[in-house]
C-alpha cells in the first residue's frame, strides 16, 4: 500500500502502514464456537486484556479482529484466508487447536504474516519436516516438553514405576499421553495400560475398571479437558483398585471450573502445566481485570499463554515499527525477525525464548498439586 510521506518500505515481504488515527490491527483465530468454546474464549479474553494493558503503540490504538478457528482444519483455513485478505493486520494470535493451526500456519506464512499460538501443542507444528512454516510461533508448550516433564516428575519425584495413560482422541490429549508414555518407559517405568475414551463420554467406569484390572498402576495420567477430566477423576475414586492410585492431568484442567468439576475427588492430584507464577504481581492484576471485565475467573489456563502471545507481538511491533509522523510502518519480515529473537521475555507463563522453529514457551514446566481447592506448585 502507499506509504507515509517520507517512508520507503524495504522489507523483503512487505510492510503494514497505519495512517493517522488508524489503529494497529491484530487478528485472533481461536475456537469461539462449538463444544471447545471455553478454550478459545479464555484465550481471547487473555488477548483482549493484553491489548487493554498495552493501550496504544506510538499513539495508534490497538484493535482486535476476532475470528473463529472452529477447532477444525477447515475452520482454520477459512479464518486464515479471511485474515490474510486484510493487509492492515499485522499479527495473528491463534489458533486454539492444533488441527486448525496446520492449514492456518501455511496460509498466513505464504502471505507473509506472523502468528503466535497460545495453545497449539502438536509437535508437528514446529517440526520443519512436518507442518512448520516461517512466521509461526507459540507460547504453548510443545507436547514433547510437557509430556516428558510429567514422566520425569512421576518417575523421579513420585518414584512410581507403573502408570497408565488415557487420552480422549483429541490430538492434544493423544499427543501428550503418548509422549508421556514413551518417556516414562524410556526412564524404566512400565505403562500398564495406554487407552482412550471419547470426548463426550460420561461413564468412565468401564475404562477405569480396565485400567485397574491391568495393574492397577500407581499413577494415571489423563491430559484431557475439564469435562472428561472431571468424570475420570470422580469416578476413579469409585472404582475398586484405584482408591490409592495417584491421579495426574495436564494444563487442560488447570482452571477454576476444573477445580470445581473434580471436587473433593481431585484433592491431591497433580497437574503439569506452565508456571503461572501465582505470586506474580502482573498476573494478579490480570486476574482482577478479568473478573471485572468478564464477570468470571478465567475458564482455563490458556488466557495466560494468549496474554503472553499478544504481548510478544505487540512489543515486537513497537520495537520494529517505524514512527513516521502520524504514520506507523511495520516490516513483516522485521516483525518475524524480532519474534525469532525473543529471548528471556518475561511473561506470566514464565520466561519466553523462541527457538528457530518458533517454540517460545518457557521450557520450565511445573507440576502443581491440588490442595484445598488451590493449585500449589510442587515441582520443580
Amino acid at each position: 500500500g502507499p506509504a507515509g510521506p517520507s517512508y520507503e518500505c524495504t522489507d523483503s515481504i512487505g510492510c503494514v502502514t497505519y495512517g493517522p488515527e488508524e489503529p494497529v490491527r491484530l487478528a485472533s483465530a481461536l475456537v469461539i464456537s462449538g463444544p471447545n468454546t471455553d478454550l478459545g474464549v479464555d484465550s481471547q479474553n487473555g488477548v483482549e486484556i493484553a491489548i487493554d494493558f498495552k493501550g496504544d503503540i506510538a499513539g495508534h490504538a490497538i484493535e482486535l479482529q476476532a475470528e473463529d478457528d472452529g477447532c477444525s482444519a477447515e475452520g482454520g483455513q477459512a479464518a486464515g484466508q479471511k485474515i490474510v485478505s486484510d493487509p492492515t493486520i499485522v499479527g495473528i494470535i491463534g489458533t486454539s487447536c492444533s488441527g486448525a493451526g496446520v492449514p492456518l500456519s501455511k496460509v498466513m506464512s505464504d502471505a507473509g504474516y506472523s502468528m503466535v499460538s497460545p495453545s497449539n501443542t502438536s509437535p508437528a507444528l514446529t517440526n520443519p519436516d512436518s507442518a512448520w512454516n516461517p512466521g509461526y510461533y507459540r507460547t504453548a508448550h510443545n507436547d514433547k516438553v510437557q509430556g516428558k516433564a510429567m514422566a520425569d516428575f512421576a518417575f523421579e519425584v513420585l518414584g512410581v514405576t507403573t502408570a497408565a495413560a488415557i487420552h480422549d482422541g483429541d490430538p492434544y490429549t493423544e499427543g501428550l499421553a503418548r509422549v508421556f508414555a514413551d518417556n516414562f518407559e524410556a526412564l524404566g517405568g512400565t505403562i500398564v495400560e495406554f487407552t482412550a475414551v471419547n470426548t463426550g463420554d460420561t461413564d468412565m467406569r468401564p475404562v477405569l475398571t480396565a485400567v485397574a484390572a491391568a495393574g492397577p498402576p500407581e499413577l494415571i495420567y489423563y491430559p484431557v479437558f475439564t469435562a472428561e477430566g472431571g468424570f475420570l477423576t470422580k469416578q476413579a475414586k469409585e472404582v475398586a483398585g484405584l482408591e490409592e492410585t495417584i491421579l495426574a492431568a495436564a494444563d487442560g484442567m488447570i482452571s477454576p471450573a476444573a477445580v470445581e468439576a473434580v471436587g473433593e475427588a481431585g484433592e491431591g492430584m497433580y497437574f503439569s502445566g506452565p508456571d503461572l507464577g501465582f505470586e506474580n504481581e502482573l498476573y494478579n492484576t490480570f486476574l482482577e481485570t478479568h473478573l471485572e471485565k468478564y464477570g468470571t475467573e478465567p475458564l482455563s489456563v490458556f488466557h495466560a499463554h494468549a496474554f503472553d502471545a499478544t504481548n510478544m507481538i505487540l512489543s515486537c511491533v513497537e520495537e520494529v515499527g517505524v514512527v513516521d509522523g502520524e504514520y506507523l510502518h511495520v516490516g513483516r519480515q522485521a516483525l518475524r525477525d524480532c519474534l525469532d529473537a525473543t529471548s528471556g521475555y518475561d511473561g506470566i507463563t514464565g520466561t519466553l525464548t523462541c527457538n528457530e522453529y518458533g517454540d517460545c514457551a518457557d521450557p520450565q514446566i511445573t507440576v502443581s498439586q491440588l490442595t484445598a481447592g488451590e493449585y500449589e506448585v510442587v515441582w520443580p
Binding site: D68, Q77, A78, K106, D110
Partner: protein
C-alpha cells in the same frame, strides 16, 4: 385477515417482544454486537438487534390490525414498544440491586451501560422506554405511509444497514479494488462513514423512486420484445452468468473465493445426498462417512508425510481412486440397510457415519490413518506443473467437480433411473411391482451419492493439505441434509441456494462468533416456517404439453 386487538393482547405482544430482546440481552448477544459500530459514532449492530424485536412486533401487529384513522396504529406501536422495554428496565434495576452475574455471566456492566445509555438507572430507563416507544411508532408508521414512499424507504434502510453490516468484507474488497483513497470516504475504521451513509441512503431512496416510476415501462418493453430478441436476451444472460462464474475469483477476492470453495465442497456433497434423500427418499444421516473416506484415501495415497503411501500418486491419479473407494463403501454400507425404512435407516446411517469417524480417530489404525493426529502434508493439486495453492486457483478444481456432478445428477434424474428413484421414494412396494429391482435401484442411489461425496472429500483433503478425524463429524451430515431441504428437496438448483444460505452465509457471519450456531438454528427454523417446500422447490418437468409449447414458440 385483519383482526381487532384488545389492550390486553397488545400489552401481551409488547411483553413478548420484550421477552425476546431480554433473551438476546442476557445471552450476551446484544453486548457482543454493540462492539460492532455500523455507522461511526451513531449506532452499532447491537442497537439494531436491541430494537429489532419491538420493531417487528409493532409492525406485524399494526399490519394485521383493523383500524380507522392513523392514530390507533401509532398508539398501538407506541404501547408495544414501550411495554417491550419493561423487561429490560427490570433487568437493569436488578443488575444494580443484586449480582445477577453469578447466575447469568453475560449480564455485564457493558450491557447495562448500553441499556441505560450510560445514565443512572432511572433516567436510562426513561430513555429506553421512550426509544422503544418511538421505534414502535416508527414501525407502525410503515403501515400507514403510502407505498410509493414506503418502498424506497425500506430499500434504502435495508441496503444501508446491509452494507454497514457486511462492511468488513466490503472493506477488504473496496481496498483492493478501489484503493485506499476511497476507503477513507466510505469507511471510518470498520464502520461506515456517517456522511457516506447519508449519501448512500439518499441515493438508494432516489433510485428506487425512479425505478418504481420508470421500471414498469421498462419491464413492459422487455415483455413485448419479439421472441427472437427475447431468446437472444436470455442467451445473453446465460453467457453473462457463465462469464461471472468463470471469473468469480477475480470479483470476490481471495477470502470470498475461499468461502465460495467451501460452499462448492458442500454443493458437491449436497448434490450427492440429494440423490439419496431427495430423489430416492432414503434418509441418510451418516453421509459424512463417504466424505471422510474420499478425504482419507486422498490423504493416504498422496501425503508426503510419514503416513503417505509414497507410491507416486498425484492428486489427479488419486482422485479417481478416492471416488471409487467411496463408491464401494457406498455399496457395502448400503447392503445391510436395504431392508430398513424411514427413520430406522436414518439412525443406522448415522451410526455408520459415527463408526467411520471413531475408527479414524482410534488408536487401532493410528499407523495408517494417523489416529487423532490426522494426516498432514497432503499436496495441493497440480495443473501442468503449477501447484494450485490460492483459493482463486483451487476454485477451478471445485468448479469442475461441481459442474461434473450437476451434469451427471441432471442426466440421471431425467433418465429411467431417475424415475425409478422417485418412484421408490413415493411408494417402495408399488415401485417394485412396476418391475424394478429395488436392490439395484437403492444401491445405485447410495453409490452415486457416495461417489459425489468421495469426490468432495478428496478435493477437501487436498485443499486443506491436512485432515483430522474431527472434521468428519455428525454436524457435516446434518448440515448437508439441512441444505438440501432448505433448498427444496429433490431440487438441483435448490442445492446451490441451500449451500449458499447455510454454508456461505454463516461463513460471512463469523463475527457473531459463538452465536453463529444459534443464528444457524434460528435460520433453519425460520426458513422452514416461511417456506416449508424449500427456497427453490423441485419443479416437475412438463412433458405432455411441452412439445406443443415449444412448437408455439418456434412458430412465433
Amino acid at each position: 385477515m385483519k383482526k381487532t386487538f384488545t389492550t390486553k393482547e397488545i400489552i401481551n405482544k409488547g411483553l413478548l417482544a420484550g421477552a425476546v430482546v431480554l433473551s438476546l440481552s442476557v445471552i450476551g448477544f446484544i453486548a457482543l454486537l454493540a462492539e460492532r459500530e455500523l455507522i461511526k459514532g451513531w449506532f452499532s449492530l447491537g442497537h439494531i438487534f436491541l430494537v429489532a424485536s419491538p420493531f417487528a412486533f409493532a409492525y406485524v401487529t399494526t399490519r394485521d390490525m383493523e383500524y380507522e384513522g392513523n392514530a390507533k396504529p401509532l398508539q398501538t406501536g407506541f404501547i408495544i414498544g414501550a411495554v417491550a422495554s419493561i423487561p429490560l428496565i427490570v433487568l437493569s434495576f436488578l443488575a444494580v440491586a443484586i449480582d445477577i452475574r453469578q447466575f447469568l455471566s453475560n449480564v455485564s456492566p457493558a450491557l447495562i451501560e448500553l441499556l441505560t445509555f450510560g445514565q443512572t438507572p432511572v433516567l436510562g430507563s426513561i430513555l429506553l422506554l421512550l426509544l422503544f416507544g418511538i421505534i414502535g411508532v416508527f414501525a407502525a408508521s410503515f403501515n400507514i405511509i403510502p407505498e410509493n414512499i414506503r418502498h424506497p424507504l425500506v430499500n434504502a434502510l435495508v441496503w444501508t444497514l446491509g452494507i454497514a453490516t457486511f462492511s468488513e468484507i466490503l472493506l477488504s474488497r473496496v481496498r483492493s479494488l478501489l484503493g485506499r483513497g476511497l476507503v477513507k470516504v466510505i469507511f471510518s475504521g470498520k464502520s461506515l462513514n456517517p456522511i457516506f451513509a447519508i449519501v448512500f441512503f439518499a441515493a438508494v431512496f432516489g433510485f428506487t423512486i425512479w425505478w418504481d416510476k420508470r421500471g414498469d415501462s421498462f419491464k413492459e418493453k422487455l415483455e413485448n420484445l419479439a421472441p427472437a430478441k427475447r431468446k437472444q436476451l436470455s442467451q445473453g444472460q446465460s453467457i453473462l452468468l457463465m462469464l461471472v462464474i468463470l471469473f468469480l475469483p477475480l470479483i470476490l477476492g481471495s477470502y470470498l473465493t475461499e468461502v465460495a470453495n467451501n460452499v462448492g465442497i458442500y454443493i458437491l456433497m449436497g448434490l450427492g445426498l440429494n440423490i439419496v434423500v431427495g430423489f430416492a427418499g432414503l434418509l441418510d444421516l451418516g453421509y459424512v462417512a463417504f466424505f471422510a473416506i474420499g478425504a482419507y484415501v486422498m490423504g493416504v495415497l498422496t501425503s508426503e508425510g510419514a503416513l503417505g503411501l509414497d507410491a507416486g500418486f498425484s492428486f489427479w491419479t488419486a482422485l479417481p481412486i478416492s471416488v471409487i473407494v467411496a463408491t464401494l463403501f457406498g455399496i457395502v454400507l448400503g447392503i445391510p440397510v436395504l431392508g430398513m425404512r424411514g427413520d430406522y435407516l436414518a439412525i443406522v446411517t448415522l451410526g455408520f457415519g459415527e463408526i467411520i469417524r471413531v475408527v479414524a480417530v482410534s488408536d487401532l489404525f493410528k499407523d495408517t490413518l494417523g489416529g487423532a493426529q490426522g494426516i498432514l502434508q497432503i499436496p495441493k493439486p497440480e495443473f501442468f506443473g503449477i501447484e494450485l495453492v490460492q483459493p482463486g486457483e483451487l476454485y477451478y478444481v471445485v468448479l469442475a467437480g461441481v459442474l461434473l456432478a450437476v451434469f451427471i445428477a441432471t442426466r440421471l434424474r431425467d433418465s429411467r433411473l431417475g424415475r425409478q428413484w422417485m418412484a421408490l421414494r413415493e411408494d417402495e412396494d408399488v415401485a417394485e411391482a412396476m418391475g424394478m429391482n429395488l436392490v439395484s435401484t437403492k444401491l445405485m442411489a447410495f453409490a452415486t451419492g457416495a461417489a459425489f461425496s468421495g469426490l468432495s472429500g478428496a478435493i477437501f483433503a487436498s485443499k486443506l493439505t491436512s485432515i483430522f478425524p474431527h472434521s468428519f463429524n455428525l454436524l457435516i451430515s446434518i448440515n448437508v441434509l439441512s441444505l438440501i431441504i432448505v433448498g427444496g428437496v429433490g431440487s438441483i438448483p435448490g442445492v446451490f441456494v441451500g449451500a449458499l444460505v447455510l454454508v456461505g452465509l454463516p461463513e460471512l457471519l463469523r463475527e457473531f462468533a459463538e452465536y453463529r450456531l444459534l443464528i444457524y438454528g434460528v435460520l433453519l427454523i425460520v426458513m422452514m416456517l416461511v417456506k416449508p417446500e424449500g427456497l427453490l422447490p423441485d419443479q416437475r418437468k412438463k412433458r405432455e404439453l411441452k412439445s406443443e409449447a415449444e412448437l408455439d414458440w418456434a412458430e412465433k
